[in-house]
Symmetry: C2
Subunit: 108 residues, 2 copies
DNA sequence: AAACTATATTCAAATATTAAAATATATCAT
DNA sequence: ATGATATATTTTAATATTTGAATATAGTTT
């Protein structure tokens, strides 16, 4: 597998993370698995659209589905996903903070 | 700032990471800053397109530019970006490995 | 100031992503 | 078998992203 190909696969995982609803799903699954119904109730999203997002994430191995009767339970495929998301969120927060600091400097 | 808005900004950072060339740039800047010329020479990409990618990353604070004469030196805006990318790459590698394991199981 | 070098920006066409709507499938209960 | 519930898939229109081509800008050298 070439480095180029790895970068492409890497990018496609990032692409899968590049959606607010999907990030919200990942956060909801942080500690425990949840059924599709539970996710639908916890979020502002239609069942069909939620299912589309879950299908995408399943394909990339970001979440794993497990059927139990009528319900399907979803969980994260790899706990490192949460670590990665948390790191990116920290970067975001730090960027916001230093922007705020810049604004302060400009006012002074 | 609402959680929704945070998820949107978070997603937009992930979106910025969701491109193989941009990931390659980040990796090249891992340890040291580099000029645009150096980056152009290290990668299979046109100068104009590289500049477009750098502009996007600048806007998101992922990368910082510093002019020195004719050259512009780029460096990472936050070392945590590298950590996050490395984590996602680990997730990718682990997914590839468990896929390979699955194929083995299917053959056996 | 004219030429040169390094880098950035704008525009447009091709391509990819998103979400709603409609429909389909799987399991369970009767 | 029928109906009910939970979830998934397909299609489509709107929107966003990507890249090459052309052009612009900033700093330097002569």
């Amino acid at each position: 597998m070439s480095e180029q190909q790895l970068y492409e696969l890497h990018a496609s995982i990032c692409q899968t993370l590049a959606n607010p609803k999907r990030l919200e799903i990942i956060n909801l699954l942080r500690d425990d698995e949840m059924t599709v119904s539970e996710l639908t109730e916890s979020m502002q999203i239609s069942q069909a659209n939620l299912s589309q997002h879950l299908a995408l994430m399943r394909q990339k191995g970001i979440v794993i589905a497990r059927r139990e009767g009528l319900n399907i339970h979803y969980r994260l495929g790899n706990p490192k996903i949460i670590k990665a998301c948390d790191l990116v969120r920290q970067v975001l927060i730090e960027n916001l903070e230093s922007n705020a600091a810049l604004v302060e400097t400009a006012r002074a």
